[in-house]
């Protein structure tokens, strides 16, 4: 820290509620995804409609025994079958034992096949996820977070194409522009907060027989309970995809700076790039 360069500008970027909600979400989503895959493993197939007719699967993961007694993991998606031995259908646990199961033990919670405990974790984390998400959405709507930080301007919407291309080239805003969320970033956050989040809760509730009795439209909108289950799973995959892109972007735009700002709130503006993108 004895460098002669001018001290970079610091910015108080994330308020306490935003930081708190973010890290609660990290924990909840991890538990929800892993316990969700545990629950999925109890019946590793997806369907459309009300019923789960065994001859009409959209996706199925199975273990098929072979002559030498080593099973093969087969994943069938829209009628096309792939050998996924080692990951889907057949996988080894941390002790090296071979198991016939949908998703491998290293992505499920608990690791071994244990549906009852998977459900306990799932619904516990789901409650915190829903309360946390509701409080965060209320805070964003009632406070300034949504209007000041999340809603894109017309200019940002018009520049969306260019901004996406810049992202793909890993050319990121610097200087003052780096202190704000950019267009694609805002849309991604809005989509997750007000789209994907509510969608995954909705389709989760649509699978509940009691909720489905009281509010049949919960599952009717999707064409039935098994459709809702498929949408729930798809939303989970989209969540994983969102997190993957998010983490890559966090790493690409200054891992330490970004992490610190989500912990302490303080963000150091990257100095303006003379040949910058803005």
């Amino acid at each position: 820290m004895t460098d002669a360069e001018p001290a970079p500008e610091r910015l108080y970027r994330h308020t306490v509620p935003v930081r708190l909600a973010h890290w609660i979400n990290v924990a909840c989503l991890s538990i929800l995804v892993m316990s969700g895959l545990q629950i999925f493993n109890a019946h590793p197939a997806l369907y459309w409609g009300e019923r789960s007719d065994p001859d009409r699967t959209l996706l199925s993961i199975e273990a098929v025994g072979s002559d030498d007694a080593t099973p093969v993991g087969l994943t069938t998606v829209f009628g096309r079958t792939f050998d996924t031995t080692g990951v889907l259908g057949v996988s080894t646990d941390s002790a090296g034992r071979i198991h016939s199961r949908g998703f491998p033990s290293w992505v499920t919670l608990p690791g071994p096949q244990w549906l009852a405990m998977g459900r306990r974790w799932h619904f516990f984390a789901a409650w915190i996820f829903v309360v946390n998400g509701t409080l965060f959405a209320t805070y964003s709507l009632a406070g300034r977070h949504l209007w000041r930080d999340l809603l894109p301007s017309w200019r940002e919407l018009r520049g969306l194409g260019k901004s996406v291309v810049d992202h793909l080239r890993f050319r990121h805003p610097t200087g003052d522009a780096a202190g704000r969320y950019n267009g694609p970033q805002k849309l991604a956050y809005l989509g997750v907060i007000f789209g994907l989040g509510p969608l995954i809760v909705w389709t989760g509730l649509a699978m509940s027989p009691r909720m489905d009795a009281a509010f049949p439209w919960l599952s009717d909108v999707w064409g039935g309970r098994q459709s809702a289950r498929t949408v729930h799973f798809t939303a989970c995959v989209l969540f994983i995809g969102y997190v993957a892109v998010h983490v890559v972007m966090v790493a690409a735009t200054g891992l330490w700076n970004n992490l610190r700002s989500m912990v302490s709130g303080w963000y150091r503006l990257p100095p303006p790039d003379p040949g910058g993108t803005r």
């Binding site: 007719d53 549906l115 027989p209 289950r229």
Partner: protein
């Protein structure tokens, strides 16, 4: 600076690994399990608050019936007493209804068939994730309870079954009175227009259409009204509940 940075990243990594890997160890800790189980009460209260007591599960038409209806759990009890009953077509079978009731009595299949019956085509949602649509027929549980007259102290209806698992634990289930007197809660002796098949719980099974499949006890032998569940078997209100599943299976 570098140290703080390393500390933070290591801290986050440790928290992450702690959450992901440690959860396995936590699943064996009784205090943690008790904490997780609180979610069940939250779900039960919230669902009862949000939905009416009498909200009816969706009913379907004959065109919606599953061509194959999976049978789960026990599909053919090995209990010799049950086998003897099955060989005689359940002619000697009778459902004993007792406990905290004014007039305990037994119902033969013929007795049950004389009671007004309800027919419903409903979707069976298994805790594993699959769903199948079937048609069920039998008297409403409320009708049977009306005959034996529960005492005011009675809070739960407990169902005892003919089957046991390999370790010898008998299957049983329980409902509170609210779910027990719901119009779609029936004692089914018919499935898809024929006598209830043995894999599906012959001669009589419970249908509780607003909860998951494991609540719908098969091979019914005895029903008792009780004021508490703690003294029965594992004390958690059912065979599956004793294995860690939720007593409230509305979600």
């Amino acid at each position: 600076m570098i140290d703080r940075r390393r500390l933070l990243i290591q801290g986050l990594a440790a928290v992450g690994l702690g959450v992901l890997a440690g959860c396995d160890a936590l699943s064996g800790d009784a205090r943690v399990v008790r904490l997780l189980e609180r979610a069940e009460q939250a779900s039960r209260r919230a669902q009862r608050f949000l939905s009416s007591r009498t909200a009816m599960a969706k009913e379907f038409t004959a065109a919606d019936l599953s061509s194959i209806f999976p049978a789960n759990g026990t599909v053919n009890p090995v209990n010799p007493a049950y086998k003897a009953l099955a060989e005689r077509g359940f002619a000697d079978w009778a459902l004993k209804v007792g406990g905290l009731v004014e007039r305990p009595r037994s119902f033969s299949l013929a007795d049950l068939r004389r009671l007004p019956a309800r027919t419903q085509i409903t979707r069976h949602d298994c805790v594993e994730g699959w769903s199948a649509i079937g048609q069920w027929m039998g008297p409403q549980l409320s009708t049977v309870l009306g005959v034996v007259r529960p005492l005011p102290r009675a809070r739960y209806v407990v169902f005892f079954c003919a089957d046991a698992d390999e370790a010898g634990a008998t299957y049983y289930e329980s409902l509170d009175l609210e779910e027990a007197v719901h119009p779609q809660t029936i004692l089914a002796y018919e499935m898809n227009g024929g006598p209830l098949p043995i894999p599906h719980g012959a001669p009589l099974r419970l249908r509780v259409e607003r909860q998951l499949g494991y609540k719908m006890a098969k091979y019914l032998m005895r029903i008792e009204l009780r004021d508490s569940l703690t003294l029965i078997e594992g004390g958690r209100g059912g065979y599956w509940e004793d294995q860690g599943y939720e007593w409230y299976a509305g979600i």
